[in-house]
Symmetry: C2
């Protein structure tokens, strides 16, 4: 049975591939698995049918046979657990790769999301200009630590793993801030991720959704 | 080989069990596994020896034989994968339980941590009083959604799982804000978690560290 993802009907990033469905598309492409995408509008995301799939009213959701999952990290680990290619077979190396999935989502992504809060959600507040540098410095702290750990390595834990897939996906969300370019080690790491054929296929697929909808409007 | 955790030598919450070592202690107690704790000071956490274990200079770390892990979510999934008791054996139910671990860490915890940012890190800023209600409302949105999903159920996915362990641990971090009490369903859920014998043993163990250090100072 072909799995079904949900994605934004109206891409908030205009096809730049920053929405969380991209992570799952990329994983499916790395694993060579077919999938279908069902687009949902912002209004539909708050309706009971979607909330039954995703209690927090977001995308992506993932449906496969009797399974309905949400949270991109959980979907990624589910796919990587069912199919070879995104996690090492050695149990210790596998645990470390899973560790990087959590580090991406719980340590690196929150300060990056706070940048969105500062610039967009609170962009019209009187404190916006003065608060932004504080938020940026918290990101710099994490980027510096991550850059130091990565060092001259190509990927975080030997070969490319689900941990790299999630870390690159999260780091891409900071690109428009210019902060990524302050850390050449990380900028090069992200570029290596983007250069993967599976990333390119996933990116093209989500861009096609935006392009088709733009042409039709 | 007995696993070794790290915890704070100087408990920032004065033994209230809100530091992230508590999640791992709780998991180990649920599984009936022995463990040792090595306490580290804030200064030691920034030194190379600790950064080799945890690149972001935090606690907990988890060492067991040749494995060194960080990120409480990864440690929890590692333990739950190696020992029966915290994840269902049915693969679909297991994937859903893992989903709740990610929901706790990636959807519920970030806005709660932003409360700490607003009240402590930016507590002396001119915008502190005006910004706080915005942060609180973001938490209320998530708490309302989680409360709606939990409904009359005892736990999030049938029996108690690693997902509940992490969700209760994260929700406890909001208790001092008073926001948890606005959602009686969630307050009762957290109380059920705290009432578990394994939670009580883990809580007592971390409190003993604080008490011993306080007596000695």
């Amino acid at each position: 049975m072909t799995p079904i993802l949900t994605g934004f009907a109206q891409s908030p990033d205009r096809g730049r591939g920053l929405a969380r469905d991209m992570r799952v598309r990329w994983a499916l492409e790395e694993l060579g698995l077919p999938y279908e995408v069902r687009l949902v509008s912002f209004a539909e995301m708050k309706e009971p049918a979607h909330l039954a799939l995703h209690p927090f009213g977001q995308i992506p959701t993932y449906q496969e046979g009797g399974l309905a999952l949400f949270e991109s990290g959980a979907i990624l680990l589910h796919l990587a657990g069912q199919h070879a290619g995104l996690l090492p077979t050695d149990p210790l190396a596998r645990a470390r790769a899973v560790g990087w999935v959590f580090a991406a989502l719980n340590t690196i992504e929150p300060p990056i999301l706070d940048l969105f809060t500062a610039r967009v959600l609170e962009g019209d507040k009187p404190w916006a200009a003065e608060r932004l540098p504080l938020v940026q410095d918290r990101i710099r702290t994490r980027f510096g630590q991550l850059s130091a750990r990565l060092g001259a390595a190509e990927w975080l834990e030997g070969d490319f793993t689900a941990g790299d897939l999630m870390m690159v996906s999260v780091l891409l969300r900071a690109r428009s801030s210019g902060l990524l370019e302050e850390f050449p080690t990380l900028a090069a790491y992200v570029a290596r991720g983007e250069a993967r054929a599976a990333y390119q296929r996933a990116f093209a697929a989500q861009l096609a959704v935006f392009t088709a909808l733009s042409d039709g409007s």
